[in-house]
């Protein structure tokens, strides 16, 4: 027994010795590698040297004749101001936190016509319902003056979209691996969104080659607002003698007042509006970039996007060609309904836009940049896009930065875009009520567009000029003019200032 115990002790000692040796070796390796890491830490450059702050602002203005809220006809006048701040903070040598917060404050003539019957301030309305729609100032029968060409003063005329995005990135000591994670929140009066994402980038080949993968998820929710006549019809229990419709004259195509108790009366085609308020988007993005020469490099982007839920916009009206038309307002203007001269008659909608509850989008993009000389750089971009709604598109962009001095650079740009129509698109009064899906949103129609722009940038690498104890690094100013072949024209002026903590 004692012999066996002694043998066991010897075996345990041998095993212990072996493991202690392994442990010692392991610790030595760790210590060595730690020393190496410590050495590399001594020499590695910070990913971001100091806190940077970007103040950005844009003013956007557009006009056109195909408002989707009024079924593909009507004014698309819209203005939008977007103050934004982006703060990038180095947490240590390897980690950067970026906060991007902004608002988009817009006024829109077409959105205002969600309720074209608003009383424009001099309220003669009498809406006693306790819902949260904006029909409380609606004019009663006989006084209505609405038109797709006239801006209403309803609550939907203006809104603020606000968003906050927080992005965190971590780089490895050799800067060949980058991990990112982001979370975001956005809200406007009829829509909220929560987004999450993460990505990984790997650099190879002495940082000549880069591969990245990114995933993004948006969980969005509608707080739907509907065209006022459709909403009111359901509120009135589908009875044209109740609620909003009580005492309201409805006209037929000939301008005659209809008998609301007769056989031929206006009614929406569907008795339900939105039955699923969610709208989720999932995307995977792959990117690859390669340095070609000392003066040129390119990158490829490939995204797969899957969207599910209520993908149409509940504010957008549809008028079918195979159903009789009914109006509210001045009968004499019915014949001029699609003309800007119509300022006082409005056609009652047949339905809201309806689109499939899923969509797969696949865009493939490519950038190629070439350093021509110390004064001139060529920046190009091309994208091919297709989706399962029938839209195919090509986008081409060229920019030619010209350094006119040490501190000033000009940015002339040109962008061409073209797309085919979605399978479900038809113009005003052209969809059929027998279709499952329909839209008159001209953003989904066939068109091409041209965009011309010019920018100027002041930059000071040393950031010598002080602003609020920060150094002024750059100032950007850009203007772009955009024209679409369906008649939509817009312009955007953007301004940006970057300051750094000195």
């Amino acid at each position: 027994m004692e012999v066996k115990l002694a043998e066991a002790v010897v075996v345990i000692k041998m095993v212990m010795k072996k493991y202690v040796s392994i442990l010692f070796l392991f610790c030595s390796v760790i210590a060595f590698s730690q020393k190496e890491n410590d050495d590399s830490k001594e020499y590695k450059k910070r990913v971001l040297e100091s806190t940077e702050v970007d103040f950005l602002m844009s003013y956007y203005s557009q006009d056109g004749n195909h408002a989707s809220v009024t079924g593909g006809v009507g004014t698309e006048e819209l203005t939008d101001i977007t103050p934004t701040i982006i703060v990038s903070i180095p947490l240590n040598d390897d980690d950067v936190l970026t906060i991007d917060a902004g608002i988009s404050a817009y006024t829109s003539a077409s959105s205002s016509n969600l309720d074209p019957f608003d009383s424009s301030g001099a309220s003669q309305g009498d809406d006693d319902d306790d819902d949260d729609d904006d029909d409380d100032d609606r004019i009663l029968a006989g006084n209505i003056e609405g038109s797709p060409w006239v801006e209403s003063s309803g609550a939907s005329k203006q809104d603020i979209w606000s968003s906050v995005n927080i992005n965190y990135s971590h780089s490895s000591d050799d800067r060949n691996k980058i991990w990112t994670a982001n979370v975001g929140f956005a809200a406007e009066y009829d829509y909220t969104s929560i987004g999450f994402g993460g990505g990984f980038t790997k650099l190879f080949n002495e940082k000549n080659t880069e591969f990245g993968i990114k995933g993004q998820l948006y969980l969005d929710t509608w707080s739907p607002k509907y065209p006022t006549e459709l909403d009111s019809y359901l509120e009135a229990g589908s009875n044209l003698n109740n609620g909003f419709f009580n005492g309201l004259d409805i006209l037929n195509q000939n301008g005659d007042i209809i008998d609301k108790n007769g056989a031929e009366v206006w009614s929406p085609i569907n008795s339900t509006l939105i039955d699923n308020k969610s709208r989720n988007s999932y995307s995977v993005s792959l990117s690859f970039s390669q340095i070609l020469t000392k003066n040129s490099q390119f990158s490829l982007f490939f995204d797969v996007v899957q969207q599910n839920g209520w993908l149409s916009n509940p504010m957008q009206r549809i008028y079918f060609s195979d159903r009789p038309n009914y109006y509210v307002g001045n009968s004499a203007s019915i014949s001029n309904y699609t003309s800007k001269e119509n300022i006082d008659v409005f056609q009652l909608a047949d339905d809201i836009e309806r689109l499939p509850d899923s969509r797969i989008k696949i865009p493939i993009g490519m950038r190629y940049n070439h350093y021509i000389n110390e004064k001139l750089t060529l920046r190009t971009y091309y994208r091919y896009y297709f989706d399962d709604w029938g839209i195919n598109s090509h986008t081409a962009n060229i920019e030619l930065p010209i350094k006119i001095s040490d501190k000033f650079t000009l940015y002339p740009t040109y962008r061409y875009y073209q797309q085919t129509a979605a399978d479900y698109f038809a113009p005003f009064e052209s969809n059929l009520s027998t279709q499952d899906f329909y839209t008159s949103d001209y953003d989904l129609s066939k068109f091409d567009s041209n965009q011309y722009g010019l920018g100027i940038k002041y930059s000071d690498i040393l950031a010598k000029t002080e602003v609020f104890n920060f150094g002024l690094k750059s100032i950007d100013l850009r203007y772009n003019s955009y024209s679409r072949s369906d008649g939509l024209n817009s312009g955007i002026i953007s301004f940006g200032i970057k300051i750094v903590n000195k």
């Binding site: 977007t82 948006y218 070609l292 990158s299 916009n313």
Partner: protein, 69 residues
Amino acid sequence: MKKVLILIVAITTLSSCVVVKEYQKVNINDPDMALTANKIEKFETNFQIYREGASGANGGKTGGGCGCN
């Protein structure tokens, strides 16, 4: 589309034998050579997402986050 893919494969293959050293990257590191859009372009991209059927493949937003595209 086929031509684009051939071009991409050709460029990738041709590029695989070239290595530009760090000290040779002065021009590549010029801010205007960045393979991303400028920050100030986010506003243009934003209105394009609203006014056009296509989006994505530009290193930025692909869809979601707004009642737009």
